[in-house]
């Protein structure tokens, strides 16, 4: 997905030569302290920021210069951390907007398919998105992003602003269900333990560099190292070549 890529704002480089790979059906989590550059990396991957160096690749194509709407059409879905639904549109209208690039006749069937993944949304189809609870809203946000059947889904802190119990439900049930369904997911998350429970691989980003790249199980067993990285910045960056290998997205 990210190949030695750098992103920033103006002349300021925030994410510097980062490489990240997500394979088909994998759930990869991107961890790091506040200010590590996680959100900047995500904004760059979805096309909201220009690539300063390196490349963004999707299924072996270089999509660095492809606009955000076109990346969606290519198969990259995105759920923002906040402002993740259109609050004054109904649930059904939000899903319809998620399917904007799809032919009209296919939208209804696809909406039924997506709602079957999130049955709680069925009775809420006519409800305004702004009136949903935090958990329902996040389900809708993910459902909206799933409408065009993305082969890669990027979730920016899906449990942000959610109560711990609902956060756990979202990660275990919603994200877990996506993983079981073979959906490739790249997820930025602050709830480290919960995220590593559902992820298969993890990267730790500190000050714009990848400091750790390991299977989730190995990261779970590296509590001291993680604490060091989160609180003190830790060791020098992991060279790009030592990132996860074998992924295709």
């Amino acid at each position: 997905m990210a190949d030695e890529v750098s992103f920033g704002y103006g002349s300021l480089t925030v994410v510097d030569r980062v490489s990240i790979q997500v394979g088909p059906g994998e759930t990869v989590v991107l961890l790091g302290p506040n200010g590590a550059g996680k959100s900047t990396l995500v904004k760059g991957l979805i096309g909201h920021l220009p690539v300063l160096a390196g490349a963004v690749r999707f299924e072996s194509s270089d999509i660095s210069k492809v606009s955000s709407p076109k990346r969606v059409r290519l198969g990259v879905g995105y759920v923002p951390q906040t402002k993740d639904v259109f609050p004054t549109l109904s649930v059904a209208e939000n899903l319809r907007m998620g399917a904007y690039a799809m032919p009209r006749h296919a939208v209804r069937d696809r909406a039924d398919e997506v709602i079957s993944l999130f049955p709680a949304l069925e009775r809420l189809r006519r409800r305004r998105a702004g009136t949903l609870s935090g958990g329902e809203r996040k389900m809708l946000a993910i459902a909206r992003a799933l409408m065009p059947s993305p082969r890669m889904l990027i979730l920016d802190e899906p449990t942000s602003n959610l109560a711990p119990k609902i956060a756990k439900d979202v990660l275990e049930e919603v994200v877990g269900r996506l993983a079981s369904a073979g959906q490739a997911v790249l997820m930025v998350e602050q709830r480290v333990e919960m995220a590593l429970e559902v992820a298969s691989f993890g990267y730790v980003l500190v000050q714009g560099h990848v400091r750790l790249a390991r299977p989730a199980q190995a990261l779970r067993e590296s509590e001291d190292e993680l604490a060091e990285l989160f609180f003190r910045g830790g060791a020098p960056p992991v060279p790009a070549a030592t990132g996860q290998t074998g992924g295709s997205a």
């Binding site: 909201h48 923002p80 402002k83 259109f86 549109l89 209208e93 690039a101 992003a145 065009p148």
Partner: protein
């Protein structure tokens, strides 16, 4: 008392042009975040083109449509040439408003120069007024009111039921999320310029038919009423704009009967001030985005 009742009837007719203009203004402001002071000059253009078509022997109703199309083309031209240049340089809301003010002067004085600053009178067939309860309307006035209602119904259904209409609302609510949903927002914003420009020209034409005169500055008379209606109706809400236009139309006509003739704008702004005092959040609506969408 009967004079006041008749004023209400005139107010409903006056509201037709205000409502059409306010629907266009609210759509344009909501989608582009440009407070277009030049909207009045484009309304003048719509009125003049409608007049010119009628003077050339066409039906005034066909002229109205051609006036709308001309205004739509002029609006897009201004947006794609002048406004986009300043937008790329990061002009904010206030700067863009000043730029559109400058554009309005160029358009208005350009038209004034081309027309030798003439005021044209529109001559339509003389008709007898029809009586509807306490109100008296000519057939043309009823058509204007009917046209405004038809525009409202079509626009409301369009925004609620069609893919493009929903995309317009989605883009206004959150352009970043709209892009992340696969919506090519630059095309949506272009559609908004075209549609709002058409409504702007149509409003100018309807106003011209109602007052039967037009010149390069006619749109300015209507502009303040349009802006107040758009803001009063919860900026960005088409339904709110129409309701507010009705209130403003009636209020200005009733005020005229009460002795405030010629003070339409003062009455309208006074009304807006009172509403804002009572309900400060009036200006926040669905179609109002917090981000400039002026990258036309």
């Amino acid at each position: 008392m009967s004079l006041y009742l008749e004023a209400v009837g005139f107010g409903v007719v006056a509201a037709a042009s205000i409502a059409i203009g306010a629907m266009g203004f609210t759509l344009q402001f909501g989608l582009t975040n440009v407070l277009n002071i030049g909207y009045g000059s484009i309304m003048s253009l719509g009125g003049l083109v409608a007049y010119a078509c009628h003077a050339a022997g066409m039906s005034i109703w066909l002229g109205l449509a051609i006036g709308g199309l001309s205004a739509s083309a002029m609006t897009l031209l201004v947006a794609k040439t002048i406004l986009s240049v300043f937008a790329r340089r990061g002009a904010g809301l206030f700067e863009m408003a000043m730029i559109t003010f400058g554009v309005s002067l160029i358009i208005e004085y350009g038209i004034a120069s081309a027309t030798q600053n003439n005021t044209y009178s529109l001559f339509l067939a003389v008709e007898h007024a029809m009586t509807l309860g306490p109100f008296h309307f000519t057939k043309v006035q009823l058509v204007l009111v009917g046209l405004a209602i038809a525009v409202f119904v079509v626009l409301d259904l369009f925004l609620r039921l069609t893919k493009l209409g929903l995309a317009l609302r989605a883009t206004a609510i959150d352009p970043d999320l709209a892009r992340a949903s696969g919506i090519q927002t630059n095309r949506i914003v272009t559609a908004a310029w075209l549609m709002s420009g058409f409504l702007c020209g149509l409003a100018g034409g309807v106003f011209t038919i109602n007052i039967l005169t037009v010149n390069a500055f006619t749109g300015d008379t209507l502009l303040s009423l349009v802006i107040v209606s758009a803001l009063l109706g919860t900026a960005g809400s088409v339904r709110g704009a129409v309701l507010a236009a009705l209130v403003i139309g009636i209020a200005t006509q009733v005020a005229s009967v009460a002795g405030a003739s010629g003070y339409d704008s003062a009455v309208a702004y006074g009304f807006l001030a009172l509403v804002l005092l009572a309900r400060p959040k009036t200006l926040q609506g669905e179609l109002v985005t917090d981000k400039a969408q002026i990258t036309v």
